[in-house]
Structures are given as C-alpha cells and as structure tokens.
C-alpha cells in the first residue's frame, strides 16, 4: 500500500477515483460494491424473468424458441440465487456487522476485497455462455445430470468454472464473517447480546462453509464426467444419475436457508424498531435459527420424493421435513408477539417487514404441504413449487432485502429516502407480486409442469394474469432504482438516530456513517 493511501486513511476520509473501489479494504466500500453488484444482477435476472413471462403470456411459441426458453429459466435462477440474493446479503453483512458489534472493520479486510472482486468475473463468465455456440446452460438452475453432462452444450464447462469461483467467494465471505463475529466484538458485547441480524448471519456463515464445498464437489464430478471419462452420474459406466441429486440437494437445501436466515435477521431488526418494543423471545429466536440450520442438513431429499427412493427413506424425509414447521412457526409467532401491543408506525421499512411476515407465512405453508410425501407426488415439478419458492425467495428474501435497504439507507447515505415514493414502491410491488405468483398455485395444482415454454389451453387465463403481474413487478424494481439514486443524490438529512425506536450501536454514529467507525471500541453495558 502506498504511503499516500495510508496517509489518507489517517484522515478518516475515503480515497477517490476508480482505484478506491478496486483496492478498497473498507467494509463500507465493499458492502456498497456487493449491494450494487446484487442490484445489477437483480435487473439482469429480472429481465430474463420478463422473457419467460412474455413467452408464457399466451399459449403457443411467440417470443423465443424452446431451447432459449430453457436457457432463460436456468440463468434466471442461477443469477437470482448466486448473483442477486446472496451478494445482497453479504453486502448487508459487510455494512452492518462491524457497526452492529462495535468493530472498526471486518476481521480480514484484504480477503474481503478479494471475495468481492471474484464475483464480477464469475458473473461475466456465467452470462458470457449465452453468446457461445450451442447456447448457455439450459438444464435448470438445479442442473440435473445427465442433462447437464452428456447432453449439455459446450458452454457448460464455463458454467462449472463460474460456479467454482462463486463458491470461493462465498466461502471467503463466510470465513470473514465468522472471524469478525468471534474476534471483533466490542467489550461487553456478549454473544447473547448481539443483534439478531448478526446472529442469523453468523449461523448462515457456518452453513455456507459446510455446503459450498459440496457444490464445488458436484460440479467437479460433472466436469470429470464430461471431459475425463469418469461415470459418476452415468449408469452405463456404473454410476447413478440420482447420486447427482443427492449431492446437489445436500448443498441445495441448506442453500435456501442461506438465503432466508439473514432475511429473518433483517426483519427481526426492523419490526422492534417500528413497534417501539423489544423483540419478543430473543433467545428462542436464536435457538430457532440454529435448529432450522441444523434441520436443513437432514431433510434435503424431500426434493427427491419422485426419484424412486425406498419407502422408508420417503417416510423419514417426510417426518424430518414437516418438523421444520415448528421452529419456523416459532419465528412467525415471535414477530407477531413483538408487534402485539407495540406502538407501531408504518414507514416504508416496516411495510416491507410486515409484508414479509404475511407472504413468507404463505410460502411456509405451501412448503409444509409439499413436505407431505404422498401429496408431493402430485405437486412436485409443477407451478405449485414455483409459486412456493417465489413466495419465500421473492416475497420473502427479496422483500427483506428491500426493507433492509430502506431501513439502513439513511445511515449509509446520510439522506432520508422519499417516504411517499417508498410507500408507492411497496404497495406496487406487494400487489403485483401476488398477481404474479398467487395464480401459479392454481395452475400448478391443476397440472401445469414447471419449466415448459408452452402449455395446454386450460392454463391460459391464469398464465396471462400471472404475466401481467410479472411485468408490473419488474417495472416496480426499475422505480426502486430511481428512488435509490434520488436518495444518494440528496434528500432530507438524516439524524444519527434516524428512527425513533431504533436501538443498537449503528445508530450511535453519525449519518452518513463516517468512513471509519469505532476505531476505539465502544463500551456495551
């Protein structure tokens, strides 16, 4: 590092120019980079969703061809999971965890820089497959073998490499969070005093470290099956295609909790602030999060009820799966009890949080329905599951992320967002997302499989409604971009406290948060 930058840092200001962002080791800069990356990916993945909804607007093939349609569903899923939701959560972690536990920065700042800068390259490599001969990956975000091995286009090897890079990035981010939480807490900040957002991320980080290597393993097995003559997933060589699904879902099921646990954390910060009342059952929230994380490892084969598992296996995975409803219900009850007899106001962040509680609950119930193995024989691979996971990931995780942005953006930029626009954004999104996804329950139950570019006529009406909702929801997020830029450019100045009912160390520093906070650790009583 040059003397000039060291000097700059002494003056507690941000260096300027492009190199500030390339070389930064500051948790706030890196948090910003993560959040912008996630936002761009949200728009890219969202554009793909618009292509999907446009093709499904009416029966018949009118916009794209079936192969490209499959590429769109695949890339939409991959980009939203690995490019939008996960990086956004890491962005929140970077900005908030040090400020919430009274630390000057993340424990491993240079690794932090690296774990971010891998992402744009991985993302570019993934998107570049679209332009390769034979097209991009077209085998679904779950990339089941042998469709993704023997029968996949050449670009699949680039996809594999991109997944490896994303995995590296996530593991490094997770290590950093664990090291920060364990070593950097201010004096007096015991584990059971940590804000719930920190707790949920701390647990999520362990999930990441446990399962990202499994994902790396499964794509490596694909790579050797494709190029080096192995037969892990090829029955003709003594392998088993279903083995792929076991390994994939051992990663994939915890992965969905990796996306939802930090959302629980964000919502658990927002609700007490606007209810002006402490979070109900703090310790049971922590235990519920930990038990959900643990259970997530032992239920994964509920994604595979139709693969021909032995009945005993199906029974076990059914019982274990429906058990997750217990800690999940505890969470919803706790949020409800936090709101109960509070003194609530409904600024934009609170709207998103309450929207989250309602819509996530619906997604949770459809999840329970699918955990029941015999009925899952009907629901599996239909639009019912598409509706379910969009209720928990779009109306769930994404709503939490949007709420979190409105909640903390005054702290990040020093400016209040425009409350009226924020509320319009919320209601616009909340209504359109239900028009988009609620009918998908119906068509799924009535028998429409997922991942099809064209459908028989009885599904036409609901698909059209769903598409209309989809276009409206997509447009709402462009509106959000406008609100964010407007807030960064100016607006009513925010106080340090920002929200009347907010508690926690991040609200004790000025808004915008100075480039370096807590250079001397605060004392926590």
């Amino acid at each position: 590092m040059s003397t000039a930058t060291t000097h700059d840092e002494h003056h507690h200001g941000a260096p300027s120019g492009l190199m500030r962002w390339v070389k930064t080791t500051n948790h706030k800069d890196i948090g910003t980079l993560y959040l912008w990356f996630a936002f761009i990916m949200l728009l890219v993945g969202g554009a793909m969703a618009m292509v999907i909804r446009a093709e499904l607007f009416q029966p018949g093939m009118q916009v794209v061809d079936p192969q490209f349609f499959n590429t769109m569903t695949t890339m939409h899923g991959l980009i939203m999971v690995f490019g939008a939701i996960m990086p956004a959560m890491v962005g929140f972690a970077n900005w908030q965890i040090p400020m919430m536990i009274g630390a000057p920065d993340m424990a491993l700042p240079r690794m932090n820089n690296w774990s971010f800068w891998i992402l744009p390259f991985a993302g570019t490599m993934l998107v570049s497959t679209l332009f390769m001969e034979g097209g991009g990956p077209a085998f679904g975000w779950t990339f089941y073998a042998p469709l993704s091995t023997t029968f996949a286009p050449a670009s699949t090897d680039f996809f594999i490499f991109a997944v490896h890079m994303l995995g590296f990035s996530s593991i490094m981010g997770a290590i950093n969070i664990i090291a920060t939480v364990l070593n950097m807490r201010a004096p007096g900040m015991t584990l059971m005093k940590m804000p719930l957002f920190v707790w949920t991320w701390f647990i999520t980080a362990f999930l990441l470290i446990a399962v990202m290597p499994v994902l790396a393993g499964v794509v490596t097995m694909m790579l050797t099956d494709r190029n080096f003559g192995t037969s892990f997933f090829d029955a003709a060589g003594g392998g088993d295609p279903v083995l792929f699904q076991h390994v994939f879902w051992f990663f994939g099921h915890p992965e969905v909790y990796i996306m939802i646990l930090p959302s629980f954390g964000i919502v658990s910060e927002i609700i007490p602030t606007f209810a002006r009342k402490k979070l109900f059952g703090y310790s049971s929230m922590v235990y519920a999060t930990a038990s959900i994380a643990f259970l997530s490892f032992i239920v994964y084969a509920h994604h595979m009820f139709t693969t021909g598992m032995p009945v005993a296996g199906e029974l076990y995975f059914m019982y274990a799966t429906i058990m997750i409803a217990v800690p999940t219900a505890v969470k919803v009850f706790n949020w409800t009890a936090t709101m109960w007899r509070g003194s609530m106001t409904f600024e934009t962040p609170m709207l998103w949080a309450v929207g989250f509680v309602f819509l996530f609950t619906i997604g949770g119930f459809t999840g329970l329905m699918m955990g029941v193995a015999p009925t899952d024989m009907q629901y599996h691979d239909t639009y019912f599951i598409v509706a379910h996971f969009h209720y928990v990931l779009a109306a769930g995780a994404l709503f939490a992320i949007l709420g979190g942005v409105y909640y903390w953006i005054p702290k990040w930029t020093g400016n209040m967002y425009n409350e009226r626009l924020g509320k319009i954004h919320f209601w616009w999104s909340a209504i359109s997302i239900n028009v988009l996804f609620f009918p998908q329950h119906f068509i799924g139950l009535a028998g429409m499989p997922r991942r099809i570019p064209d459908y028989s006529l009885q599904f036409a009406d609901w698909n059209m409604i769903s598409s209309l909702g989809g276009f409206a929801f997509g447009l709402a997020q462009i509106f959000f971009l406008f609100i964010v830029i407007k807030t960064i450019k100016g607006g009513e100045k925010a106080s340090g406290q920002v929200w009347e009912g907010a508690e926690g160390l991040e609200w004790t520093v000025a808004s915008p948060a100075p480039y370096h906070t807590f250079a001397t650790a605060p004392e926590v009583k």
Binding site: Q58, P59, M61, P66, N70, M132, E133, A138, F139, G140, P146, L147, F151, P153, D234, A235, P241, A275, R276, K277, F280, G281, Y282, T306, G308, L315, M318, A325, V326, V332, T336, T338, M339, R341, G342, S343, M344, T345, F358, T361, F365, M369, V372, P374, T375, M377, D381, L445, A446, P449, R451, I452, D454, S456, L457, F459, D461, M464, I465, L468
Partner: protein, 377 residues
C-alpha cells in the same frame, strides 16, 4: 385470439375474487384452481390428504393473520398505543412450540398410510414398461409382446400460431397408452437418455424415469376414459412437448385393441419384404422424419448449430450409404443421437434414410430397401 384470452383472463380474476368472498362459487372454478381429484382410489386418497393439510394451513394462517391485522389496526402509535414492555414468556413459548408439533403428528398419520398404499406395487395383474426418450414415450406391454412409441401430434402450425389451437393442444399423441379397467397395472418406468418424469394427474402420482434404473408405480382404474398428462422433469429442448395420453377401456374393448395391434405388426412385417419405389420411400420417410427426427435436426434439416448437426449438406447424409445407415441404426454413444435401429421398423428406417439423402436440400440419388436394413441388423 389475444383480446379473447384477455377477456377470459379478466373473467377468471373476477371469478376468483367472487370466490374469495362467497365460497359457493367454488364448483365452477375448482378444476382450474385446485388439485386434480383424479379417478383412482389412490388419487382420491391423495386429494383428501391435500385438502386436509390445506384446511389445517388455512385455519392456522387465518388465526395468525387475524392477530397480525388486529395488532396492525389497534396497536398504532397514531391511535395513541403505548408500547408494552413484555418481551418473553417461557410458558407462551412452550405452548406455541408444542401445539404445532401436535398438529404435525395429526397430519403425519394419514400421510403415512397414503404413502404406504401409493408405493405398494405388489400383486399386479399386468406390467407395462414406460421408457422416456428425448422427446417421446415408449410403451412395452410385457405380457402381450406389444411395443410402440407415443409422440405429440399437435401440428407445428398450431404451436407457431398460424392455425387456431385445437381443444387438446399439446396433450394429444399418435399412439396413446391403452389399459384395461379393473386390473392392477404395474408401470416399470425408465429412460433411454436423460431423466424424464411420467405423470398423469388423474392417477394421483408421478414417477421419475431415470436412465439405467427402473422405478415403479401402479394404478387401477374403474371407469373407461381418456386421461392426459405430461413429462414433468426438465429433459431438454422439447420437454414441454412430450405429453401422455392414457385410454382406459373395458376388458372386451381392451382385448380387441390388443388383437388389432398384433394385426398391424403382421402387416408391417409383410411390407418389409416388398421392394419399395424411391417416391414411396421418400413420401413415407417424410412423415417418419417429422415425427422422429425433426425435433433435433429441424423440419428443414438445418439442425441447431452447436447442438444438433444439419442434415442438409451433411457429409454423412450425402456420403457413403453404409455410414448413414450405421449412425441412424446405432446412434452415437455419448450424444443425443439415439440408436433408431431399436425404435423403428425396417420400412421406416429405409424410408427416413432415403428421405434424408434425397430431400431437405440433399440429392444423393440413391436409396436403401427395407431388406437391406434387415440384412444390416
């Protein structure tokens, strides 16, 4: 077309709203918004279980939402609400952990019995092997020596929109699977290439078709009828275009159908011994090509660059006859090109090869006879 669909869409939306208000409108819309009830004992069990779990969810959901909404309305700062200070209660927390647990136990009992019944494929009266191919189904009647492929018949024009869509758009096939009623039928389900999933909602289940492994499922129908389904596992480009049509017949009708199939097989065998003219071969070859090859090599023979080679100008399809016969009959291991020797009869193979050599922009000028194919087997 567009305006009509939009009008119908808005009607359905309206219907759904009415239905939310007044439960009795349910009947009219239930077949497009709820689980298919199906026509077998098992599918009814699955449906009942679905409704049970659904209503449990609705009751709990309404309860939680009622509390939330009450709180949102009355516990507002603007209504002068002062925040309470409670933030934990071990008793309450134990109660609301135990109750969901007990509800789950109540659900698990019927779920277990239904699952055990669903998976009990013992003591079947007959067996049919179902094999998934990119993008069609093959049915082998193991007790009858009958075997055929079942391919989508919806014309391309309907899919592309130049013709109006017919009633059974995308759920119609050339050779439906035919089964007798009142017999326990065991399906042995497997695949020739990627994973597919055989799903007829009216039977109450789906089962994955995994290459190299055999899964099973069973059904016993009591009413003659036609039931339609689809491949449910993403299996590549034409995943959305490999439907299933199952026809249940009375025992007499089924016996007649079996006899008819056997007669057709004999007629085919006779045709294979004749010498065919080039024009007849090309004419027959065109329909064989459109049913079996066009999904990949495209109707005009141009293929899809980087995925499926073109037939037009292909070195193999315009070169040495033996090489062409070989790739069509034996396929190419490790690619999507299947071994059609096992799928098509001698006449169809001779026809499609002759067609590829002398149409789609090719003009090799030679032909191959069914007897040559028989000799090459």
């Amino acid at each position: 077309m567009f305006a009509n669909t939009l009008r119908r869409a808005l009607c359905s939306l309206w219907g759904a709203l009415v239905l939310l208000g007044a439960g009795n409108a349910f009947a009219g819309y239930s077949d497009t918004i709820n689980l298919v009830k199906g026509v077998t004992d098992i599918s009814h069990k699955v449906y009942d279980l679905h409704m049970l779990v659904f209503w449990i969810c609705v009751v709990v959901c309404v309860g939680v939402f009622a509390v939330l909404i009450y709180s949102i309305i009355y516990h507002r700062k603007s209504k002068g609400a002062k925040p309470a200070t409670f933030h934990e209660s071990t008793t309450v927390e134990i109660i609301w952990t135990t109750i969901p647990f007990l509800v789950l136990v109540v659900m698990a009992v019927p779920a277990t019995t239904t699952l055990l019944a669903l998976e009990d494929t013992r003591d079947a009266d007959m067996s049919i092997q179902v094999t998934g191919y990119q993008w069609k189904w093959k049915y082998d009647y193991l007790d009858e020596d009958i075997s055929f492929f079942s391919v989508l018949t919806t014309p391309r024009e309907q899919i592309e929109g130049s013709e109006p869509k017919s009633e059974n758009y995308l759920v119609e096939v050339d050779n439906p699977i035919v089964v007798p009623i009142n017999k326990k039928i065991r399906f042995l389900i497997t695949s020739n290439d990627v994973i597919h999933s055989w799903w007829v909602p009216a039977l109450g289940w789906k089962q994955d078709a995994v290459p190299g492994f055999i899964n099973d499922g069973w059904t016993e129908l009591s009413e003659p009828g036609t039931y339609r389904g689809k491949c449910a596992e993403l299996c590549g480009k034409d995943h959305g275009f490999m439907p299933i049509v199952l026809i249940a017949k009375t025992e007499e009708d089924y016996a007649a159908w079996v006899a008819e199939q056997k007669g057709a097989a004999e007629a085919d065998a006779a045709a294979a011994t004749q010498t065919w003219s080039m024009d007849d071969l090309i004419a027959r070859g065109e329909s064989v090509y459109n049913t079996n090859c066009a999904a990949c090599h495209q109707a005009n023979g141009a293929g899809i660059p980087g995925v499926f080679p073109a037939i037009t100008g292909s070195a193999i399809a315009t070169g040495d006859m033996a090489g062409h016969v070989d790739i069509v009959m034996n396929g190419k291991a490790g690619t999507a090109m299947q071994a059609f020797g096992a799928q098509l009869n001698d006449v169809d193979l001779a026809a499609v090869i002759t067609f590829q050599r002398n149409a789609l922009g090719n003009s090799a000028g030679d032909m191959v006879q069914p007897s040559d194919i028989a000799a090459a087997r």
